[in-house]
Every structure is written in C-alpha cells, then in structure tokens.
Point group: D2
Chain length 349, copies 4
C-alpha cells in the first residue's frame, strides 16, 4: 500500500482490507449473473473445497460475521436451558453483547479461569460437577477459542484432554476459530489435526480476519448438529441472497493457499514485534506470542504517548496491558516505527 496509506492501526486484524487473492475471485464472481441463496456454482465449489481442506465430509455454511457464526452454532448445539462452558476471557463471554444468549434464547455461559487464556480439563470438570440440580442450567457445550483471545494456542494434547472430559460428561465441543488459520500456522498442523481428529464437533472458521471483506464459515464435523441449520441461518438473517460474494472470496483464500500464508505472515509479524519488545526495559510481554497478537505491559504514560502519535490498540485485558494485532498486510516498517516510538516513550518516562 502507498506510504500515505499505512495508518497506525494495530487494534485488530479487522482494520485490514481485502487481500488480493480474495479480491480476484470476488471480481470474477461478478463477471456474470448467478443464482441466489447459495445455489450458485461458487458456493458449491467453496464448500467442496472446505471438505477437501479438512479431509472430511463435513457440512459447511456461510454466515456474515463472527457473532452470528458462534451464536448460531452454539444455538444449534444446545437448548435454551443448557449452559456453555468457556474461558472467562472468551469473546463469546466478553465481546458479543449477549449474542449467544440472544440466538439460543437464554443459554447461560459458565466461565472458568485458566492459564494463558486457555480452558483446561480441571476447570471444565469443576463447572460441570459444581451442581446437578434443575435450578442450574445443564452444561452441554464446551467452547474453546483457537487461537485464544490472548494470542496463545491449544496444542493437540490440550485439545484431546478437553475432548476426554467432554466425553465423560456428554458435552459437545465448539471451536471459535476467529483466528483458526493462525493456530494452524503456529502449530504447523493441518486443519484436520486441530478439529475432527481431536473431537471438535463444530468449528467457526473466520474469513474476515484472514483477508475477506466479510464472511465466516461454519463447519460441522458432527453432522447431526447441522440438521436444518440452513433454516436456522435464514430465520436469523444470515442467509446472503448474493452468497457468491462471500463464497468466491473464500474459494480464493483456499485455492491459492492465502488462508495459510496470510496467517503465517501475521504470526511472523507478531513474533517480530514481540522480539523487539523483549529488548525494551520497561516493556513486559504478558503472554507467549503464539499467534498474531502481542500483549505487553507498558507504563500508562507510554500508552498515552503512543495514542497521541496515532497508534490504535486496545487495553481491555489486564491493567495497563496493550494488545497489538498483526494482519496479512502488516509490514516490518510499521512495526519498526512502533518499536521506535515505544522506545522513545519509555526513555522519556
């Protein structure tokens, strides 16, 4: 992008635009009229491509955004009087404005702490066994975020341990894959190895954070849970009439491999930033940098000065903790500028 066009946006990976591969396919899909509501050839090709990517005969649906993907999927996995076990920092708990409760018509989220933003078997078991009376919503789903909200990842052993406790208590496993591609890249694992092979029932796979204009894929490995899911999407305002404009860009990501290369680049940029911060006295990394987010403790005056210089970032999590998120188009130059500004601000403080 032109230099005048490198805004200091590191608040989220959704400030980036459409990656070239996705755009090419979108434009191609616009060359011709096509059938509506997913009856077009692009949607067919894209869903088939997901099946080959996962090496599994899964059911695939496209929705507009992550709130809907997670909320509708959770609604399909339980009933209103069931509860969903998730980490206290999970997006569905902290940042969906009650979306899961709305779509499920009242399902309650039960939260657990856990090191590095990750649920673990003990925490899950504790919530499931806390009570067994009818006044407490019946635990039915475990929701894990891969990569997590704090930029860490669950490895296969951790995922298998969660599946084991889920089986013990008849729980279904939902994966919020807002940054699933980043996890695959980080763990050098295939999509299959991180989902159905470790007992994930349903995955919400984000395209928006990975270079699409909008659009997420809901992938059901437990196909019973997908029964009539198309009706659920339609009723809930998530059936795109011109669906090819979601499906074609997805196909672009998948056919070109950009889904993974975009994520690898974003992860590499985050590691670069973390390495740079590691050398700065006064800057303290909060979590291992395993995906595309970096969390760092900086003195409040430093944060203030960065904001003055036009840097955007969130400080929701942890007092004084700043989150910087890298994306498919983040550049070394931008990070060097950031690191220089941080160094300067630290020296001044």
């Amino acid at each position: 992008m032109a230099p005048h066009c490198s805004p200091r946006f590191l608040a989220s990976d959704n400030t980036s635009g459409i990656c070239p591969e996705a755009l090419d396919y979108l434009l191609e899909a616009n060359a011709c009229d096509d059938l509506a509501y997913g009856n077009d050839s692009w949607t067919q090709r894209a869903t088939d491509r997901f099946r080959s990517l996962f090496d599994y005969d899964c059911d695939v649906f496209f929705v507009f955004n992550g709130t809907a993907a997670n909320s509708l999927t959770l609604a399909a996995m339980g009933q209103s009087y069931h509860s969903v076990i998730c980490h206290e920092l999970a997006h569905i708990e902290t940042d969906e404005c009650g979306g899961p409760e709305f779509f499920s018509n009242g399902a309650k989220l039960l939260t657990s702490a856990g090191r590095h933003g990750k649920l673990n078997a003990e925490g899950i078991e504790q919530l499931v066994t806390r009570r067994s009376d009818i006044h407490y919503p019946k635990p039915r789903i475990v929701s894990i975020t891969q990569a997590t909200e704090v930029g860490t990842v669950y490895d296969r052993e951790e995922l298998l341990a969660i599946r084991t406790v889920a089986d013990k208590y008849d729980l279904r496993v939902h994966m919020d894959g807002a940054r699933f591609a980043n996890a695959c890249a980080s763990l050098e694992a295939t999509p299959a190895e991180l989902t159905w092979q470790v007992g994930v029932d349903a995955l919400c796979f984000s395209g928006t954070k990975n270079g699409l204009p909008m659009g997420e894929a809901v992938v059901f490995f437990n196909r019973e849970l997908a029964e009539d899911f198309d009706y659920r999407c339609k009723q809930a305002g998530q059936l795109a009439s011109k669906m090819r404009f979601i499906a074609a860009p997805w196909l672009g990501l998948l056919e070109t491999g950009a889904w993974l290369s975009n994520a690898s680049h974003a992860n590499a940029m985050a590691r670069y930033l973390a390495d740079g911060l590691r050398g700065l006295p006064g800057a303290e990394l909060m979590f291992p940098t395993q995906a595309n987010s970096v969390f760092v403790q900086l003195p409040p005056p430093v944060l203030a000065q960065l904001r003055e210089r036009g840097w955007t970032f969130y400080t929701f999590i942890g007092a004084g903790g700043a989150r910087f998120v890298c994306a498919w188009n983040t550049t070394v130059e931008l990070l060097d500028t950031l690191l220089a500004d941080i160094r300067q601000a630290l020296d001044a403080s």
Copy 2:
C-alpha cells in the same frame, strides 16, 4: 456483460451482480486500512449522504440483509406481545422463515388481503378492532411494502390514508423498502415524499437488489425508535467489522445517482416486457406493472417449456402465475429472447 454471460435469470433482482458505481467505491475503500465497526470515514460519509438524500436528520444503520433489516426494525418498534399488521403477501409473512417472530421473540403477524398486494385503511382497521382482549396480541405496527411483492406501488394518498388510521390507533408505520428505489422511480417522487412526509416511522432501504453485493440501510425518521439500535444490531449478529465494505458501495450508489438510475432502468425493462406480453394471446398480465416485476398468467405447458429452455422464474403467487423480475443490468435483448420463446410456446400449445 459478454454474450456468453447472459444467463436467463429473471427469478429475482438478486441474481444480478455488483453495479460499476458500487464496485468503484468498494475498490477505493480497499486501498487503505481503516477503523472497524463503522468508525471509518466511509460509514460517516454514507450516513450523512442518506440524511441529505432524505432531507431529514434521520438515524441510519447498516445491516447485512433484508431479513435482518425488517426483523430488527420491527423488533425495535414493538414488543414480543405486540402484533404487526401486514398484507397477506408481504415478504415478512411469506418468505422470512419466521424471522420477524424470531428477532422480536414472538410478535405475531396479522394479515389482511387487499387489492394489488396493498394494505388499505379498511383492512387495517378491521384487524385492529377485531378484538381488544388480552388474549390477542396488541396491534402496534403497520408494515407496508413499497414497491409491493406484486410489482405495484402505494401512491402518496394511499400512504397518507394508512398514516391516518395508524394515528387513530397509535400504530407505528414500518416500510419494507426492498424495492424502495423502484417505487421512487415509478412515482417520480423524492425519498422524502414517500417516507417521513407521509408519516413513515422507519424504512428498510435495500441496496442488494439495487446493485450492491450485500447490505441494507435501516433509516429511522422516528428517532426515539432508534434508541440503542446499534446494540441491537451488534447482539443480533448484524454489526459488520469491516463495515466500510457495505458503506462505501452504498455511497457509490448515492453519490452517482445509480440508486435511482438502476431502479429506473429495471422499471423500464419491466414495462418493456409487460408491453410485449400484452400483445400475446394466451398471456394475461395479473397486476399493473408499476415497478420492476411482471406477473403473468401462462398455460402450465408454456411455463414448462420456458424452464426447459433455461429460464428461471418463480410461480409462488397465483396458480400458473409467473414472476419475471428485471434488474439494473437486464437487457432488451434478453427480454426479446424471452418474448420470442413465450410466443413460440404459446403457438405450440
């Protein structure tokens, strides 16, 4: 479009793609990163442009599709125990898979017949006064579709008559503007003349059917009803993180005037088709052609033959009635081919 690329799609105006004006703005919006969740400059410019288009200080929100636009707006206009009065052919009654009931958590639709697919004051009054007991959901909203599902339009007198009965019974007026632009073009009326000037409280203005890839605008003239509507959209999975990719194409439609010229063209094509059909013995037009849809009675064998030749169209409404919908990119050539095929099929039958 290239000749090889003129599919015989006349089933709906959502088989067409993105019009050039919308695409130009979308690409421009992609030149640079920008803030998420509507905090970008494109969203600001687009909403301001709506205010000038309507010559009114209205509240404007963008959502992904029409199901959500209508359902969320109705939910904001009433409570779960209220009822919505609409025509028996209204899209919210016949084609949303219970969307309005879902988003409102149970509001009931009360339907009325009415000539040419239009509600009228008598029909509304009959439903409101039928009962007044607590076992019958309290009427609170009148929903009118402009242009209607059968390709007709409400003129200003008809709209004012509805507003009068609405005032009499403390009802709010919702307008489903899936084809609002076509109505403006047909009536040669300004957006203001067909909305707040005739007492419309909220309008769902469709962009998708008018040349966008996706995205609708919800316009509140009664701003009290818009209170916290942004939270409602977020919770319901209708807040786009990269909102500029909905807002920028909208701005393209508005700044270039394509919103109206696209509609005018579609209307003209529908009239052209209707004129052609009028000359065919055995073909009987079902409704006045006032917007971009043509409904015609044709013998079943004729319909069958058209389908064999690859024409797509719906026959939901009226036995044997076929609906042909024209769009911003429908060509005279395509319609001539259709007319020739119909003539031939009629002769053969």
Copy 3:
C-alpha cells in the same frame, strides 16, 4: 351452591371453582410440610396415576396453565425455524397472545380451515406441500385440539388419518387437551384410545377446566421429546416450588374418577341446553354439540338482552354466534333460566 351464588356465568368453564374431590386432596396435602419442586410424595403418586390412567409408561410434568402447557410442549417438539400446523380457530392461534411464538422463539403457525373446527389430512397435506424452500418455515408439528374450540370432537378414525399424513411428512402430533376429558366422555373412549394408540406424541391435559384451581399436565408418549423438559419448565417459570398443591388436586380428580364424571356432567348439561335451543324458532345451533360448549346463532337484540340480564358469554366466533360453556357444576336450573330468558327475548324481537 347457595342460590345467591348462582351467577349467570356461561362464558367459560374456568369461571367455576374447585370441585370437592380436588379440594379434599388439596387440604390433605396441606396437613404436613413436604419437599419442594416435585420431590414430594403427592407428585410421585399423581404422575404414577397418570401412567396407569393411560396404560402407558409416559413422562408427566405439571405446569401452571394452558398457555404454558401448549407453548412449552410445542417448543420441545420443534425448533424456532419450524412451523406448527393447526386449525384457524385453534386456541394456540387465536387466544394465546403469541405464546407459542414466544416460547419457541419464533416458530410460525400455519393455519387451515376445516369443517366443524377440525383439521383434516387434506388441509395438512396442502400446507406441507405448498412450498419446500428455505424461506418458508419447515412444517414439523401438527396440533389438534380435542375437544375442539367449537365443541366438536375428533373420532379415532379422524385421528388415525391425521397420524397417517403426519408419518408421511415426518410431523409430530401435539394434542391440546384443554377439554380432553370432555372428549373421552363424549366418545366413550379411554385416554389411551385417543392418544398414544392413535399416534399422539404429546398431550396437554387440562385440570383447570375440569375442577382444579389451576394446573395442567403435560404427558409425553414420545419420550424422546421429554428430554430435559424439566429444565425447560424451570427456566420458563413453570416449576411450582410447592408442587404438591397442583399434584394433589390432580390425584384427587384421577383417584375418584371425578376427571371423567365432571366432564360427563358438563357434556350432559351442554346437550340439555342444545336440546332446549333446538326447539326455539330464531335460535340456530352452529355446530354439533359433542362436548361441553354450545354455539348458537341468535339475533343481536337477543344477545343484548341476555347481557342486560347478567348472562356472560363470548361472541368471538362467527357473526352473532354466542358460545355457552357448561362446567362440572352447571345446573339444570341455571340452564332452564337461560332458556326461558332466550325464549322471552326471541318472542320480544
């Protein structure tokens, strides 16, 4: 009841009080503290008694009223994007203020006409086959009211015909038994013969209209549908903490046989009234009197005069049609007075 205490209430069978058999058990249940939330002995005995009454190992739950019984049961039989087929006069359609839509979070009711207030196979098939696209809520349940809203009953052949079409289209059968006891009495059939033996999946059996202060029983013959129904009731505010005060009166009805004798008496009173009306020129019975309701066409001035004399009755259904409902405690004396007043008013008009 004392003469001063024979109000001219024939508007509904819910103006009557608690029958002696129910009251005796209620008082006995009050002699001693007992466990809450249905863990008491009365609830156990009552549910066992239902199982013997139906000669079936069914699941039984108690809720407070009919709106909740029907709505929660329908919610358990389908999902929000499903539709419920019922008669256009069904209580769930006309008198629940959107209750079924609320509890199911949006399920749509599809209505059919039908002679004598009864659904039939043709009407059901017509609704199921009308459309098969995703924009139309998927039919999943058939709801039949036994006895119907107009005082008629479905015989076993009619019920079997409905089950046959239900099987053909994978529909579940719900029975609104607001006056189920009256149907059993009318048809001289056992509860088993009118439910699971003819393929009813779930029955809402009313106690309130049959002599209880309040309380309905939900009986699942298709036990899969009852999974976690206790949680559903709790969440929806239908779990009575002192449940024995619903269960004990129910046990009183069942152990003493009052459930049937109350209904038989009410039916007999309705027949007595109908016979009396049959002899009156100017009074025209609207439906066969097969349960405890009588619908009669009377001139408006006659209706006005009856109201002046303190008679309460509804005229919702059919222009000029008056509904008189008899209950467990309706007396011949009261009906003779009514008949005399009607005769007098007719002569005067």
Copy 4:
C-alpha cells in the same frame, strides 16, 4: 401440626404449606363462581389492598412463581441487549436456570461480589464504568435481593446509596422480594420505606414463601415500566384463568396482617436457632442472622450425621456451610431437636 407431622425440613421456606389465613380466603373464594383472568372481585380487592399497604398508587400484577416474577419484571425494565447488575449470589444468577436470559431474550447478568451478600455502590459503579463500547451489553438495571440470599438485609441508607449510583448512570432498580416481608419485619420498616421511598422501580413480592400455596405479586412503582405488562404476562404463560385462587389468599395475608406476623415468626425462629448455635464450639455462624435463614459452618461429618437423622438443608454456599431456613410454621421444638442433634454430633466428632 400433629407430631407425626413435623418433618425435619429446614432446607427452604417453601416446604411449609398454606397458612390458615390464606386458606380461609381461598375457601371463601371457592364458595361461588367468578369471572376469569382477574376480572373477579378478589383480584380487585387484593390489588387495592396492595396500594394501601404501600401507600402508593402502584400497578400490581399476580404471577405464579418467583422465577417468572423476577424474569418478566427484568424483561419489562430493559431490552435483550441490556445488562442487569446483581450480586454474584443473587438467585436470578445462581438458581433460575437462565430464566432472566430466557424471558428477556438474551439480557446478560453482570455480577459483583459484596460483603454479606449485598451489592454496594462501588461494585455497581465498577461494572458500569468497566466498558462503554457496543460489544458489552449496556447496563440498564440494578437488581437487589431483600432480604439477601444469605439472610442479611439492606438498610435504608444502603438502598439510598444504590439509588444514587443508579441515578448517576440511568439505571433502573429492581428488588427481588422473595423474602421482602422478612426484611420489613427485621428492619421494622414499612413496605413504603423499603421501596418507592428509596427509589425502587419495581418489586417482586413473594407470597409462596410467606404462606401461600403459590403466587407472587409484581408491584410497579415506576408505572411507565408496567405498560402492557398484562399482555407480557399472558404471552409468557403467567395469566391465571382462575386468578382469584391466587388473589384471595394474598388478600388473606394482607387483611389479617399475616404477611408480617408470619415473617416476624420466621425471623424469630432463625434468631433462636442462631443463638443456640452461637453457644456450640465447632459451629460457626457465617453471616449476621437478620432474616429467616441461618448459615453455619459445621464439620462435614456433622453435616453427614444430620442428614442421616433426616434433616434437610442445603450446602450450596460456602464449603461446609449449611443453610437452615425457618418459616411461618417452624416450631421451637423442632429447633431444639436440631440443636440437640448438632451438639451431639459435634461432641462425637
């Protein structure tokens, strides 16, 4: 009650039956038929009596149980995208199986700790100011439980402090009065002094725990919030057709003063038990005994032995903590037996 009938039930005040005053009125209401759905004279008299009790022209509604009372009232006080601030031990958070989320269609509860089970201004302010973005449900309601879940009460100063912070942030104040009568008795305050005079917008006043078979009163002091609440109750399955059987017992409690004397007796019994426990080495009271509940720390073997001897009590709250609840009919004899058993068990351990 007869000796054979003194079960060792101290788990809750809902194991007790109907108090004599309530029963007398119930029986009187059964002497005669009456109009349904609250159009009877008993309902009118009872609601008027509430207005005089509160010395305020409030709106009063009757519902079946506490889950519904609290959930429907919260639903009327906010929208689905709003949040409710309550104590982490509040019944609506811990024991309603997601009822508030269900009735509100998704409102999220935000919990705060607080000494003695009580919310305080600081805790409320912390939750309100934590975030102000659209991804976090907008705080709209503060819900306080009076008396609290741990048997303490809010005095007028504490209530006024909460009202002050509520005004600062435009929050509405809901009071869960499951044990409101016990709070009035404990504080020797009038109902007015503990509700509208300290800014409570709506109160859910429990009758069930106070000697009724079932039935709660919802009292709106902020009458705007009561708009169409009757429709809300009807749709949600909370309109009793024979409402006089809820209203008349309530009238009995109010006219005889039993509502207060029952509560005073229960409180006195709790104090008697607490005094007895205070003298026992090994037994440690957990909270001040200000209402009708006693929470005591006892060694697990002691708890086990008490259960063996047939005592029922809950140990949800606090490891090893046992809750004993006294009711209108709890006797000194029963408590002496309990104390003796505890002493014996302590000595043995």
